[in-house]
Amino acid sequence: MSNAVAIAGVGMHPWGKWGRSFVEYGVHAARAALKDSGIPWSDVDLVVGGETVRNGYAGYVAGSTFAQALGWNGARIATSYAACATGAQAIDTARARILAGMCEVALVVGADTTPKGFLAPNAGERWDDPDWLRFRLLGMTNPAYFALYARRRMDLYGATAEDNALVKVKNARHGLRNPYARFRKETTVADVLASPVVCDPLHLLDICATSDGAAAVVLTSVEYARRHGIANPVRVEAVSTVTPTFPNTTIDMPLLSTDSTAVAGAPELTFKEAIGQAAYEEAGIGPEDVDVAEVYDLSTALELDWIEDLQLCKRGEAEVLLRSGETTIGGRIPVNPSGGLACFGEAVPAQAIAQVCELAWQLRGDAEGRQVEGAKVGLTANQGLFGHGSSVLLAV
């Protein structure tokens, strides 16, 4: 028995720094997704909202806010919070009710408005909060964590700052004609290297911005989609929301240390490897079948880590793939055809849903100006604070 649900429609609000309420963005995206699906709002019987994020923690109530803004229709609601993985968890919640036969049409919406500059913790002294302590004791910002991962690649695999910059160049080109992207401008390796170093080895243009934005998907049972006239819908074949397995051996933001491997030994898979593996196992589809991927390039180098974590190439070989153009549209495995976070900036609760929107367009052949020809299987990946895995596998 298949665990697939259908994506009947997708919609987004353009990413930017608009300074308006997240509700406006969310409603815009929701209405766009409903219009795309051709299903009236009155037929939606579940709304799942991706909770807004304030300084790493849950912000405003999302599910009922969107449901009310669209006009109460009596639908069931839920709100998900999983930091950067919020969207995947929201999709998983909707999928579970659909598969259980407890719902036919679910609307999943994520939207946020974000502050400028370094993300910093809430005010006040909290000597028992690692997120507060990492700033107070170490001055450890989010880009500093990304820089640790980037430097490790460089020292272990001989990657260079130019390789990191090439990721930005590729993604900038991918996003040029994406109407939802915030930054649509060709970037050169020289531009990246000329931008100031924030945390060595990462330059300002290696690190993604924070943005306002919203994304929404309409999920239905495959049976409902067919009845509704969508004969061959893009299907959600897997949603991985796994947590780490002890001991977690990578220093994850905002922690100051890893678990110790002394008692249990190092696990077979790292957390990020396990996120993708769970999606593959659930779908019964392997990495060799993936045609296109949207991964979380919080930094340029992190895209290279994800390519390996998702088994799209061997460990330490992502730079080879990049340099040979295989991760560019037209290559063997295009990565971030949307332009990725490099072109969007992160709107946390919307981002994992936006990844799914992009792949839905790709698999439908509707990604104008950035289409991966003949794409049949797409995979998203990201990781949320506090142990939240996120990977969605789509197929058509």
Binding site: G117, F118, A120, P121, A123, E125, W127, D128, P130, W132, L133, R134, F135, R136, L137, L138, G139, M140, T141, A144, A147, L148, Y149, A150, R151, R152, D155, L156, P196, V197, V198, C199, D200, P201, L202, F246, P247, T249, I251, L255, L256, S257, T258, D259, S260, T261, A262, V263, A264
Partner: protein, 147 residues
């Protein structure tokens, strides 16, 4: 002026300082930062999923380890970071793998930068001034490259 650790119970001071970790009485799993009684009961649950221990003893971690990775902060981090000098002086950071199988993040000692570090290089623990307030110097553990 006196020098006091900026946070209690995380490290010893003196000629040969050590980080202080909590070791589970039940399964010997080690955690750093140490378990804080002020932070409440939940923090004392052993992280090992096969152990339901809640009691820990304090142990010293090895003073020397190898660099897992490193970076620096070329822009002044936001509050609650407290800059020690005006204008702001960038500093380096290192994640260090200790023989106890744990990687611990820390600032790098004064006078050292990313050019002095390499993945796999040996470093040792020192205690230096993080910032100065009304009570005097507030100290923190740091990693110093071993020549």
């Amino acid at each position: 002026m006196t020098a006091t650790p900026v946070i209690d119970g995380w490290f010893t001071t003196g000629e040969e300082p050590h980080l202080l970790a909590s070791r589970c009485i039940g399964c010997s799993n080690i955690v750093f930062p140490p378990v804080s009684s002020e932070a409440g009961g939940a923090t004392s649950y052993c992280r090992n999923p096969t152990c339901d221990g809640e009691e820990h003893e304090t142990v010293e971690l090895s003073r020397r380890g190898t660099v897992w990775s490193y970076t620096d902060a070329q822009y002044q981090p936001p509050a609650p970071y407290v800059p020690q000098a005006e204008p702001y002086q960038p500093f380096a950071l290192a994640a260090v793998e200790l023989p106890e199988g744990i990687v611990v993040l820390g600032q790098v000692a004064d006078g050292y930068g990313v050019a002095d570090l390499k993945v796999g290089a040996e470093v040792e623990l020192v205690v230096e001034t993080l910032n100065t307030d009304d009570s005097g110097d507030r100290t923190i553990y740091r990693w110093r490259p071993v020549r």
